[in-house]
């Protein structure tokens, strides 16, 4: 059963260095577009990928794009070869990306991070302006639509701010 809140909570509980990006970040800000997976930008250090393995252990994680649905239980040497990791778990699909279009790698993404509350935990999400920038940089029709929705949300947030 898909449970994205549980999946994200596990990442936080296991101290995985990540930032929520993509369609699920857009949904968290209020976009009405449906997304079927979680995209996170990850620190691809071995230590962090081992924490990621621990976070999804017990959820039957497999490499979604491998033909034989290879289990996500590799050793450190194999982990060090990955640039992106596309997983399927019992709680839903999780895509771990090393680079975000229009922003950069994890270190760059981290500079544009906000924290929001989820399941009584604070978790990192790409800031709304940076998310809009990344969606515009992707250039696909679906991303363009999401960027337009996010701009409307941003505008509404600014309009709702009380004047000082």
């Amino acid at each position: 059963m898909t449970d994205f809140v549980k999946l994200l909570s596990r990442l936080v509980e296991n101290d995985v260095n990540f930032v929520l990006v993509g369609g699920m970040a857009a949904a968290a800000y209020g976009s009405t577009m449906l997304t079927q997976d979680i995209d996170v930008c990850c620190d691809f250090s071995i230590e962090n990928l081992l924490r990621l393995q621990k976070a999804v252990s017990g959820l039957n994680p497999v490499h979604r794009l491998s033909t034989d649905k290879k289990s996500f239980d590799e050793d450190a040497e194999t982990l060090s070869t990955y640039k992106n990791i596309y997983l399927d778990t019992d709680c839903g699909q999780l895509d771990c990306l090393g680079n975000i279009e229009g922003i950069g790698n994890y270190s760059d993404v981290k500079k544009h991070t906000h924290y929001i509350s989820l399941a009584s935990q604070s978790f990192p999400i790409l800031s709304l302006p940076a998310l809009i920038r990344s969606k515009e940089a992707m250039g696909r029709p679906r991303d363009k639509e999401n960027a337009l929705l996010l701009k409307a949300i941003q505008e509404k947030q600014n309009l709702d701010k009380p004047e000082i």
Binding site: T2, F4, A27, A28, G92, S117, L118, L148, L149, E155
Partner: protein, 53 residues
């Protein structure tokens, strides 16, 4: 209505659900995505079953 909302509407996007969505918390919005995916999976399974029967 602001410029960005006008641009979204002109592109053909439906903003009618946005207002209600913005009243929810991020957690509720993400939970809604989970519910939608689960509903799609159930529908796909039912369609596949119907094809087989």
């Amino acid at each position: 209505m602001g410029k960005a909302s006008r641009e979204a509407l002109d592109y053909g996007l439906d903003l009618s659900l946005l207002e209600a969505n913005l009243q929810k918390t991020p957690e509720e919005r993400i939970a809604m995505q989970s519910q939608a995916v689960n509903a799609i999976r159930k529908l796909q399974a039912a369609l596949n079953k119907a094809k087989r029967d």
